[in-house]
């Protein structure tokens, strides 16, 4: 981008990187790309009961030039694929893509001539979100995992090279585990096998 690409590695850049990533993840405006039933869950996520605005995603932009993250919600037909690519190209950098639902992620149950078998054929995808359709909590979980990824993004080519060489990836921890206030008193569903860090499944928990 500018000066930071020519600077050597140092403590200043690490702090700037954190600050830049924090500002980026704290106000991501979504470009809606609702194509099917997943869009209903996406709208529900934006509405009062789940309130996407808590994560700085105030406004679903129909204008790709003012958006940071594209939520591809629904099955993409072959005819829609060029439109999807154009909307993605019109978004300004930095930009991210969430592939919401199984149809967007891999074609889902529509394994036929009309549907693109995964939007990663058309645009680079950052987070795959399975589910048919995913419930609003799953979308929020995907967004929070994307936040974690953005916080680990390197600033400048030197740091990007360092990160590539170290081979570090962002761990995909379930959000209800990562942000739990009291891990012993979890009400919601837990992954019985690992991923939760050995936290037992609580049955019939109340809110």
């Amino acid at each position: 981008m500018g000066l930071e690409e020519k600077l050597p590695n140092g403590i200043l850049l690490a702090s700037v990187e954190k600050l830049v990533n924090w500002t980026r993840k704290s106000s991501m405006w979504p470009a809606q790309f609702g194509l099917a039933c997943c869009a209903m869950e996406m709208m529900a996520t934006g509405a009062t009961p789940y309130d996407l605005a808590r994560f700085g995603m105030e406004r679903f932009a129909a204008t790709p030039r003012q958006a940071d993250v594209m939520v591809v919600a629904g099955r993409v037909t072959n005819k829609m694929a060029p439109v999807l690519r154009q909307v993605y190209d019109q978004m300004s950098d930095p930009k991210w893509v969430i592939s919401m639902g199984v149809c967007a992620s891999s074609g889902g149950m529509f394994n036929n001539y009309a549907i693109v078998q995964g939007v990663d054929h058309v645009v680079p995808v950052d987070i795959y979100l399975p589910g048919c359709p995913p419930r609003p909590e799953m979308l929020l979980d995907a967004i929070l995992k994307l936040h974690a990824k953005i916080m680990d993004e390197p600033l400048g080519p030197a740091r990007a090279r360092d990160k590539l060489e170290s081979g570090k990836t962002t761990p995909m921890i379930p959000s209800s585990v990562k942000y739990a206030k009291d891990p012993d008193k979890l009400a919601g569903p837990r992954d019985p096998n690992g991923a939760s860090g050995g936290i037992p499944l609580v049955e019939g928990g109340k809110r």
Binding site: M109, L129, T169
Partner: protein
């Protein structure tokens, strides 16, 4: 139209501040799913730890999205994973295809495949979303033993299918 009418509107906005918040604070606090929510799958075990899956592939045949891959294997006396002749040697579910319809659960003849309430599956890697048998197997509960091991609760698979729980209870009473 009175002079104070516009203020009434603000009054509603003001009063809303004191009402209960409807928003679910998802990552910290949230409602549990319904008990029979179609979440991630699980492959269950018999009370002694042997796998319930017999590798019949009925789940894979029932799946409308072709998300399940099963490969059966033959049990031998030395290498026994499930009661009976066959067991699921390889088992994979592609969560990028699975639509959570539950037809596989209905198709399963031994009640091996069920669904948990876990749903936070999002990942940044396609490969990680193909769950393998190790990830899908139910955890070993107390009293269970990691297969392969011989049938502990009965002579043949009929004992397991017909009176599995009673035999498990009897074995537990005898053990300690």
């Amino acid at each position: 139209m009175g002079v104070l009418d516009p203020l009434k509107g603000f009054g509603i906005t003001f009063a809303t501040m004191f009402r209960k918040v409807a928003t679910e604070q998802y990552p910290e606090d949230y409602r549990p799913t319904e008990q029979r929510y179609h979440g991630r799958h699980q492959l269950n075990r018999h009370p002694d730890g042997l796998e319930k899956c017999v590798g019949c592939e009925l789940c894979a045949w029932a799946c409308p999205a072709d998300a399940i891959f099963v490969e059966g294997g033959d049990n031998t006396e030395e290498q026994r994973y499930s009661p009976g002749e066959r067991y699921g040697a390889d088992y994979q579910i592609n969560y990028l295809r699975c639509i959570g319809c539950g037809l596989c659960i209905e198709a399963c003849p031994t009640r091996s495949l069920t669904m948990t309430n876990f749903y936070e599956l999002a990942n940044d890697d396609r490969q990680n979303l193909i769950y393998t048998k190790e990830q899908l197997m139910a955890p070993l509960l107390p009293g269970m033993e990691q297969p392969p091991h011989p049938m502990r609760l009965g002579e043949d698979e009929q004992d397991y299918y017909v009176n599995g729980p009673e035999l498990a209870r009897k074995a537990q009473e005898e053990a300690p």
